[in-house]
Symmetry: C2
Subunit: 420 residues, 2 copies
């Protein structure tokens, strides 16, 4: 890293804020031309990006960071190609800006329309993965927002070259350079400073672990969207198709255990526990999943570890699955209400009443009947791209695509009306 | 006031949280029956409510609170009738809950629908006016939310009898008593405690002065919607119909100066300043409006006070108007961007290009051409009722009606799908 003093967070946020009206007025064609140039530039500068990434990786290795973290930090020619493809996919998405959401005329002749507009400047705080840098820039530009990125220190060389490359490409197509800011200050305190930049930012989105989300929520004065903490459950009702239940539960745990829509706890109705649990344990064992069961589970699967209260709260991000036998669907609902993170909850059942009860009563971004929790995803839902999965209820819930990065304003046209 | 210890904020929030699933499942008919009973109960208990109100007023008088505050605190038979009518008007509004916002089916057969659902428990913090107690309860119940109200200490007797009356009426129609909570703790610290009740509340809405909003934003961990701070401008372009401009500017300032959509500063294009300002000052003087003008204004209206930098930031809530002469529409836009509160901004102009530029570029909840700023209002917009006017961009912007008190969830129905 260079020894020059990092630009202040305030100066970078202000630089973005100052050009927000310019970005807000860009045509769809101008934004798309920028995205195409960005995708091309990533490919052209692929070798330089890999060199910068190698610097981060060697720092990471000498600092002894985990293999999982190193993997998320690693770029390859294929991953860079993937980033470029994502930018082109964003180019192909419909421009959300300017959409008239509704319009009506009052009796006094005032014509009101509710029109989709950008936020202005969005702050995004994320960990390790350098591909988020490109995705976030692409989504921000397509939704006519400026973006202030706060990536992690461990990825600073990769993030810098990616954001510089994309910014230069955007500028080459006439875009304002200020619109894309990667914070030079990557201190811990800097996160708190960023989320209090109320005069410049209209929204912050933290993407990362529970600790980061908590810190942002506790210190932010800028409106924030909480993302990605997923303590997801699969409830196997007594009426479930048990063969399908095994397949779904295993898929929800094993297919990609590190992500937020993976299943952490399976709740099993007592009437099917003795049949289901042995069926379930075999493929779980084959996939090296450690089971932490409640006492009733332990009776049926003596090899499993005994779960503690803490396990019900845990988002393992790992090949560990908690299992609890419940007396009824109501007990499952109570468990989910107490321990769930309002991300994704699934019921497996052939009983329409039970399904309906579960789907109506569970308070989560996504409630699923008879399918894997892994489907809660912007790509799967057809949003084309995703800025994270919201687990709060304000503004956006669940996968956030381009529309979720916009707000609206009321445009009112009169001919002299006054209020009496 | 009684000497019994106030119930804790946590216990009241939890009581609401515990019945949120019950409120969430109420039918439209059940909610409407509750609202009708509430309206009737207000009328039946009118005398008792006035007696309780008189207690607040006499405390207020002996504490020497201002006439304006006393006025806002005062209930009359007509105002109680108005509160009852508002509840019936809310009864007549369409039930927002359960609306399918969009639905689609994936290639793998998963059927996804995005359905409008309540938040759960909403906290509302407000000042003085006891009629807000009834409005907030009505809007919350109709949108299937529980509500925790934190009114001001100065209105505690009025608020208590109103909330008790409405809760009893709701319970008489089968509603759960826990759904309607008026905080017994009205300490300052209690506000901070309330806005950190993340385990129970999904949303807080502060309604009041800039100080309250700021305190909530700085301490809340529950997602919050900022409301009501309105530093609204009227920009008179050089092409404006000056007669209409005078009428609109006067209306925007004078018709109800204490509200957030009143105009605080008029910006006048230099080419029309010498004609407009004398025309404008006469009716303003007749309405006892004090003018605080920039130096150029002072030259044209020698009687006016000289504005300071602070005036441009001020939301007077009073018969005071700042006036500034600007060289161009761009200078007006810059002024609004610097000093405005993103509430309502108006341009008066006969030039379509200037109008279009203003409406597109000004970043505010409502942008208005050739009409008074006073029109930004849930009632005027046709929302039937209003929980405040949002000045932030997340979730709701501008007037908040029933729909703005809801969120959504994704309901996904499958038949065994797993992710590959």
């Amino acid at each position: 890293m260079t020894m020059t003093k990092a630009r202040s967070i305030a100066s970078q946020c202000q630089a973005a804020y100052d050009v927000a009206p310019i970005i807000g007025a860009l045509s769809t064609d101008a934004k798309n031309a920028g995205l195409v140039a960005m995708a091309q530039a990533l490919k052209i500068h692929s070798a330089a990006i890999l060199t910068a990434n190698e610097k981060d990786l060697s720092y990471g290795r000498s600092a002894g960071i985990s293999t999982a973290l190193l993997d998320r930090l690693t770029l390859t020619p294929a991953r860079i190609e993937g980033m470029a493809d994502s930018l082109l996919a964003i180019r192909d998405l419909e421009d959300p800006i300017g959409e008239v959401l509704t319009a009506w005329t009052l009796e006094n002749g005032l014509a009101i329309s509710k029109v989709r507009v950008p936020f202005g400047v969005i702050g995004i705080i994320y960990e390790a993965r350098p591909n988020v840098t490109a995705d976030a820039i692409g989504l921000a530009i397509k939704s006519s927002n400026c973006v202030v990125l706060r990536g992690s220190k461990s990825a600073i060389h990769s993030n810098q070259i990616i954001s510089n490359t994309l910014r230069d490409a955007f500028v080459s197509q006439g875009g304002p350079a200020g619109a894309i800011q990667l914070l030079e200050d990557t201190t811990h305190e800097g996160v708190t400073e960023l989320v209090q930049m109320k005069q410049y930012l209209s929204l912050v989105i933290p993407r990362g672990g529970a600790g980061l989300i908590k810190r942002v929520v506790e210190t932010a004065t800028v409106p924030a969207i909480e993302t990605g903490v997923g303590n997801c459950h699969v409830y196997v009702d007594q009426s479930a198709d048990l063969k399908a239940a095994v397949s779904i539960a295993v898929n929800a745990k094993v297919q990609r255990p590190s992500v937020c829509n993976a299943c952490e706890t399976v709740l099993v109705h007592k009437d099917v526990a003795s049949t289901l649990l042995p069926l379930l344990s075999t493929p779980l064992k084959e996939s090296n999943v450690v089971i932490r069961g409640c006492e009733k589970t332990k009776v049926l699967l003596p090899d499993c570890e005994l779960a503690t209260e803490d396990d019900w709260y845990e988002e393992y991000h790992d090949l560990i699955l908690a299992i609890r036998v419940v007396d009824s669907i109501d007990e499952a609902l109570t468990h989910i209400r107490q321990y769930g993170s309002m991300h994704t909850e699934a019921i497996l059942s052939e009983n329409p009443e039970a399904i309906s009860k579960f789907l109506n009563q569970v308070d989560a971004a996504a409630v699923i009947a008879n399918a894997s929790t892994r489907f809660t995803d912007g790509g799967v839902f057809g949003f084309g791209a995703e800025m994270g999965i919201s687990t709060q209820k304000l503004h956006a819930r669940g996968p956030m695509g381009l529309k979720e990065l916009t707000t609206y304003k009321y445009i009112v046209k009169g001919d002299g009306q006054i209020r009496t």
